[in-house]
């Protein structure tokens, strides 16, 4: 058993690529060391290095490898090719079962030899998302220039070079040297083991374990915040990114000048996050606190006073820029900006943002009416729809596109628009993503739906629909936004009707496929919630019910029913009937039409026929009243008569009329279950 440590020390690696690279390194090594029983893999990554530590056997034992070559009867060329490939002569081969076979006795391979063999190859082929060339003449690429390769096995260097085929690979060779912090501890040190390496790095101001760095950032900032009786706005993504930017995190707190505290909290937060990677802080009342937190990359002798002052000045300059936009933007009311949208292209085939604003506006009123809102609310939705995109022409949104909507809301309120309208302008992009909430204020929901319905109908009409992983216009997200807004607010809407309103004059393209697209997104969403997507497929079989709330209630009821014993048996009976019909229909065509009651030969047939008639009436009635659980129960109640039918009746009776009549009865059973779902879609 031996411990291997491989560290790849380079110039600064983009924060977002580090963890993936460490995983890729670990998996490449695991694969390459297959014969050495790789175990206890640890990965490390940070701003200037990725590394992996693995325990390996000392050697791959001696073994025989046999490879089957061409058939004995194959042309000579094939045999020649096989021997050439392996550098052997035909005399080295044996004939086994009509094939030429090469049995090779392989000597044991030491872990050291194997490492030196495979690591250069792994580094040459490393899957960085983007890599670069440097220097004068080598084709060896890395994410940024690679400066050192530390490779030791049980404390000793495993020597290898990256040079090959006349390419010197920047003269890179393995060694037992590593480096600490660029400024605190420049220069190399010797590495003898993974644990010594970690400890030595720590004394040289490099924390090589990412979880420790994240923890230092989180707890450090929380402690500083607590001292000021304020709290941090949680931002796990930012913690991860900052942990990839610093080798030795030193959290510090800076002041925000009073002159900037009237800026919207969102503006401050976005500017701090996007431009500076600073953390926003909140007062106990939830307002923006006059502080920001940042993370320096080294401990300072002055406790960070100089760097804090520098960061404060930088932030002041950023906020001065933001204030410039905030003051300038408010001079022009949002409503006066709407005409300027006519000059902004939304999409070459779908016209301008101005045209889109008009469409959203009209559609928002329709949606509001369909939601049963008051006429005042419908007017508010209309107004908010018109104003919703106007903030795209403001300086602030030009600078920070992620503030679209939010700024519109502020500016609308500043202009004296009524509060529901301003709120809807602010919230119409909700939900912005998977983690974001949906809007709940009715007017906001109406505009949010109108925005997405217009987007979907437009792009489907011009056949610009998502393909594979490509979804440049965010149509999947838009569809999910529609689904979530409807579900979260339990809205009883007819989507089919709204699609046609959204399409307006447009026809054709892939518009007819839009309901299926929504259905597909719904399936994906339910699957991600751990629900049975096959049950949804069963209720969707007749096409998308434009009322998603009703559709989902029916799906839930069905899902519950098939978990009862009666439900399970009903399902089994339905499958049995379907199997029989599939076979027999193939022989003599579909057996449709009402069964003839005079042809019943057994009581069980009569009982089933009677039960089906009753179930049909009851199911239709309960479905109409949306009593889905009752509908499912009416169906499940068929179970005893079905069981008796299948137990006592031979469907394929010798008399042709009786047989055909029984098949018609089974067809009727299938038609009855189809009232609630296509049972054929349900698995298991």
């Amino acid at each position: 058993m031996a411990e291997m440590l491989l560290e790849l020390f380079s110039e600064e690696i983009p924060a977002g690529m580090q963890s993936r690279a460490a995983e890729d390194l670990a998996s490449a090594l695991t694969k390459a060391f297959d014969g050495l029983a790789p175990r206890d893999i640890q990965t490390f990554f940070g701003a200037r290095r990725i590394a992996a530590s693995i325990t390996l056997d000392h050697e791959i034992p001696a073994r025989t490898v046999s490879e089957r070559g061409p058939r004995e009867s194959a042309p000579e060329k094939a045999l020649a090719g096989f021997t050439r490939k392996h550098g052997v002569t035909p005399a080295d081969l044996t004939l086994e079962d009509g094939f030429w076979v090469l049995n090779q006795n392989l000597d044991p391979v030491s872990a050291e030899t194997r490492i030196a063999d495979v690591v250069p190859e792994i580094l040459w082929k490393f899957p960085w998302p983007k890599s670069m060339r440097w220097g004068a003449g080598s084709n060896f690429t890395w994410v940024r220039p690679l400066r050192r390769i530390t490779c030791i096995l049980d404390g000793r260097v495993v020597p290898f070079s990256l040079a090959r085929d006349g390419d010197d690979a920047h003269g890179l060779r393995s060694s037992n040297l590593s480096e600490g912090h660029r400024f605190v501890a420049p220069g190399a040190f010797e590495v003898t083991s993974t644990s010594q390496w970690k400890d030595e790095l720590e004394t040289r101001s490099v924390i090589v374990d990412v979880d420790t760095r994240r923890d230092m950032i989180r707890t450090g900032i929380a402690r500083l915040a607590a001292q000021q009786n304020i709290s941090v706005v949680e931002d796990a993504g930012l913690v991860d990114e900052v942990a990839g930017l610093v080798e030795y995190p030193v959290p510090l707190l800076g002041h925000i000048g009073a002159a900037f505290m009237d800026l919207p909290a969102e503006v401050m937060q976005v500017s701090m996050r996007i431009n500076q990677r600073y953390f926003a802080l909140r007062t106990p009342e939830g307002k923006a606190a006059p502080f920001f937190a940042f993370v320096a990359n080294l401990p300072f002798k002055d406790g960070g006073a100089l760097t804090t002052a520098g960061n404060e000045r930088v932030l002041s300059a950023r906020f001065a820029d933001a204030r410039h936009f905030w003051d300038l933007d408010r001079k022009t009311p949002l409503a006066d900006r709407v005409p300027a949208l006519d000059a902004v292209t939304f999409h070459a085939k779908l016209g301008t943002q101005g045209a889109r604003a008009q469409r959203i506006s009209t559609l928002a009123r329709h949606v509001a009416e369909a939601m049963g809102l008051t006429s005042q609310q419908a007017d508010q939705a209309y107004r908010a729809g018109l104003l919703a995109k106007a903030d795209l022409t403001t300086g602030m949104v030009g600078e920070f596109p992620e503030l679209q909507g939010v700024m519109g809301g502020y500016y609308a309120a500043h202009d004296g628009e009524d509060s529901a309208t301003a709120q809807a302008v602010a919230e119409h992009y909700m939900p912005r993503g998977l983690g974001d909430d949906t809007a709940t204020a009715p007017v906001s929901v109406a505009v949010a739906l109108a925005d997405r319905l217009d987007l979907l109908a437009g792009f489907f009409a011009i056949s610009e629909t998502p393909t594979g992983s490509g979804d440049p216009y965010g149509l999947r997200r838009a569809a999910l936004g529609v689904i979530r807004s409807i579900r979260d607010n339990a809205l009883r809407l007819n989507l089919t009707d709204l699609f046609s309103k959204a399409a307006g004059e447009r026809t054709g393209g892939e518009l007819p496929r839009l309901p299926d697209f929504i259905a597909e997104r719904l399936r994906v969403q339910l699957r991600s919630e751990g629900k049975r997507h096959d049950v949804l497929a069963a209720t969707l079989a007749g096409g998308l019910d434009g009322d998603l709330v009703r559709l989902l209630a029916r799906t839930d009821a069905l899902s519950d029913m098939i978990q009862t014993e009666n439900g399970r048996n009903l399902l089994a009976a339905a499958k049995r009937a379907a199997n029989i019909l599939r076979i027999e229909d193939k022989k003599d065509g579909p057996h449709t039409g009402q069964p003839d009651s005079t042809l019943y030969a057994q009581d069980e047939e009569r009982a089933l026929a009677k039960a089906l008639d009753e179930a049909i009436v009851q199911t239709q009635q309960t479905l109409k009243e949306e009593r889905f659980t009752d509908a499912m129960q009416a169906m499940a109640a068929l179970r005893p008569v079905l069981d008796q039918f299948f137990e006592a009746v031979i469907v394929n009776a010798p008399e042709p009329e009786i047989r055909a009549n029984r098949l018609r009865l089974l067809t009727k059973f299938r038609q009855t279950t189809a009232l609630i779902a296509d049972f054929g879609q349900i698995e298991g």
Binding site: R133, A136, H170, F183, V314, A343
Partner: protein
């Protein structure tokens, strides 16, 4: 920062000249046509191509017409200065050279928080890209650091290190000044605003309000035609000059708001075609001469 009096604007430039001169760079003068960035100078763009080593440093005035703020914004200018260094091939100690140059202008990396933050640089108008960083000092971007990978649509066979310092920003940092117009220019009482404020106001009016768009469009088309013609004749740098003119004319048209979003891409494509042809002509000439 040194405990002494901070550097004035012109001394900052002199110190950088001194530093890079000692490192073996040719100290060149600004290129004599309007450029959007120091990168666009033929001293960088054309020299980055081919396999001849090159080391040069120069100040380049940059024009970004739509960044005009009528002299009212303390941080934004439509005309400003970049200090540009090109080192070909990339020295192994590129990062260290940059850090040493900070020491030369009074920024001590041991006392400040210097960071290399990912920034994949790309300039679609000249078909160029590279990998590198924004270099931060106490949260402020003080330089751009790029390892060129492609220029004029042509892969760089001998990659260069490009270092770009935003001189006004750097000077504001060194001097501790909040407003660019308050920068000490010469250490003898002359302020940056004394020289440039009037021009910022006038050019902002020119760029946003007064420039004759019909004339600009004619000039753009002329420059485009001329560039193509010259590139076909194999005279690379004159062809590239016309490409630069077209690029600046496009920026002015853009600032005047007469170019729609969909047209933008087409204009950028047209300038890129010129850049590519000029770069190919340059490379062809280099190969003939070698």
């Amino acid at each position: 920062m040194s405990a002494n009096r901070p550097l004035c604007f012109q001394d900052l430039i002199l110190r950088l000249h001194q530093f890079w001169s000692e490192k073996g760079c040719a100290i060149l003068q600004p290129y004599d046509t309007e450029l959007g960035a120091g990168t666009l100078s033929p001293h960088t763009t054309l020299r980055a191509l081919g396999n001849k080593p090159w080391a040069a440093a120069y100040v380049q005035p940059c024009r970004r017409p739509s960044d005009g703020r009528y002299g009212e914004n303390p941080n934004r200018l439509q005309h400003y200065y970049q200090y540009q260094v090109l080192l070909k091939p990339t020295p192994a100690d590129s990062q260290q050279l940059l850090l040493d140059s900070y020491r030369a202008i009074g920024i001590d990396p041991e006392k400040h928080d210097i960071r290399f933050v990912e920034d994949d640089w790309e300039n679609p108008t000249i078909g160029a890209w590279g990998l590198g960083w924004e270099v931060w000092c106490d949260g402020m971007e003080v330089s751009q650091f790029t390892y060129f990978q492609q220029v004029g649509g042509i892969p760089t066979v001998m990659p260069s290190t490009e270092l770009t310092y935003g001189l006004e920003r750097l000077a504001m940092y060194v001097q501790g000044v909040e407003n660019v117009y308050d920068l000490d220019f010469n250490g003898k009482g002359l302020k940056y605003g004394d020289i440039f404020l009037r021009a910022e106001r006038d050019y902002s009016r020119h760029n946003f309000e007064l420039a004759d768009t019909g004339m600009l469009l004619t000039h753009f088309n002329d420059a485009e035609r001329e560039s193509i013609r010259l590139a076909e004749a194999g005279i690379a740098q004159p062809a590239y000059d016309q490409c630069l003119k077209a690029s600046h004319l496009f920026n002015l048209l853009d600032a005047r708001g007469v170019i729609s979003v969909s047209e933008r891409a087409s204009y950028i494509g047209r300038v890129r075609t010129l850049a590519k042809a000029s770069c190919e002509a340059w490379l062809a000439g280099e190969e003939e001469n070698s």
